[in-house]
Symmetry: C2
Subunit: 279 residues, 2 copies
């Protein structure tokens, strides 16, 4: 598949509806220093969190095909909880390379963290409606309780990641979730951040949970599993001295992507290319 | 243009990126009881407020063509501030019928309301960046100061239209806006709601502004002007006894549109048809 002339290192395709997936890319870069990366942010059609399965699958497959067919990605990471929850099967059917979503790694990390077997998950509307975390946690022998927190993404995008209003909104959501857990007789000791925007709120969320509750970042967990899968396969093929290449594509304003993306990536995004998926 | 067999009454096409435009449709229905309406909510690609001019224009023109070419609309109302600000010219070029946006009517109503000639405008990111209200107000001899309030749409969509957090967020935004007005030596006596979601926050906003400040709802102002333009032209063509027909189309989940739309329309939306614009 790979006929790229940029580098002999393999390319990992990473896809999100917007900027949030850059938290996953950031974790991937740290754990896979020898890979090249091509990232698509489908910013013209974000957010996916409030859309239907049919629409999300259609959009996600377009990005996946671009990454495999035009960027020669040999491995895909769906760095978007909503697309992982609603479109993983459709993407796996559409492209001939391995595809990893963020839900399974999040559930696996929750199993490793939880002693009581009861897990809380916060995510977007669409992710929660899909019940994908509940199913993935059940497959790991865990009981999961999910809650949609639709205000957290706009609060992050407003830049209010350390703002009293955000503290209050997180408290409201987590109190509602704890009351629901209590009513169901659950004893949760683990909270999964089921949206790639939420790692930017990790300090506030860490202060809002009860002592002893572990906070799981799906981005970290996904990068861990991707690195295990990929580094084993890629070892020996490339020299460690090679420079990693990172190409970013956005379906809407590249200026905005360059400006906001650095918050999520933790460093400059660099030059972003405009991508027309025909939307 | 009109070969519809449903009714001899003319059809008005109304377009928004989502549900918010239903506040405009609601005002139009009240003021134009003899017209039929076809409404498109481009929910698969909402929100427009954070997207670029190029992308917004491309989306808006697709909806406008559908309304004119397939729904035989003889008159279009762009019930979306962002699309009015960024795509009115593109839509007027693309279809052969009169097109009315919400910006000009808002500015006209502000001129009628303001004694000092200084006006504040709150809107989405994209609307503010376009400076369309500033230009429209200047053309009316007003000085306008605009502010983006990106959290208000998600707060309305979360249903927090009478919530302490929303009160706090409105206070923060309006305080910042007043400080900016003061620093510029303005003496504003009018506040324009430059987003079709904001009428649902009108009670909270009305309590947050200073006594004597008039709050202008662009939806109301637009319906007023549309009714003047259309009722004059349509008078005599149809009988007042005819039943108004309202057809709603959404590009994403029709169930969600039916459920949430009623909040904005102030009554049941009824059956919504799924529309594929090829996005």
């Amino acid at each position: 598949m790979n006929d790229s002339h940029h580098s002999s290192a393999p390319t990992i395709g990473v896809f999100d509806s917007g900027f949030g997936g850059l938290t996953v890319l950031r974790a991937l870069i740290e754990k896979m220093p020898r890979a090249n990366f091509a990232f698509v942010g489908d910013t013209a059609r974000l957010p996916y969190g409030s859309k239907s399965r049919r629409t999300i699958a259609r959009y996600a497959v377009q990005s996946a095909r671009f990454l495999v067919e035009e960027q020669n990605a040999e491995f895909l990471v769906i760095a978007c909880n909503t697309a992982s929850a609603l479109a993983l099967d459709a993407i796996q059917d559409a492209v001939p390379v391995p595809v990893l979503g963020v839900i399974e790694p999040g559930a696996t990390a929750a199993r490793q963290a939880s002693k009581t077997g009861d897990v809380l998950v916060i995510a977007t509307d669409a992710t929660v409606l899909s019940q994908a975390y509940t199913a993935a946690c059940q497959a790991q022998g865990l009981r999961a309780l999910e809650k949609a927190c639709p205000l957290l993404v706009p609060l992050v995008e407003e830049g209010w990641t350390d703002h009293p209003v955000t503290v209050e909104v997180i408290d409201i959501y987590l109190n509602e979730l704890r009351a629901e857990a209590w009513a169901r007789g659950l004893n949760p000791d683990t909270l999964v951040l089921g949206c790639t925007h939420y790692p930017l709120l990790r300090p506030l969320i860490g202060r809002a949970v009860r002592p002893g509750v572990k906070v799981i970042d799906s981005a970290e967990a996904t990068a861990q599993i991707a690195a295990q899968m990929f580094n084993g396969r890629a070892s020996g093929e490339i020299s460690a001295a090679e420079q990693t290449e990172i190409r970013c594509f956005a379906t809407d304003s590249v200026e905005k992507f360059e400006r906001l993306g650095s918050r999520f990536l933790g460093r400059q995004v660099g030059k972003v290319e405009l991508l027309d998926l025909g939307g």
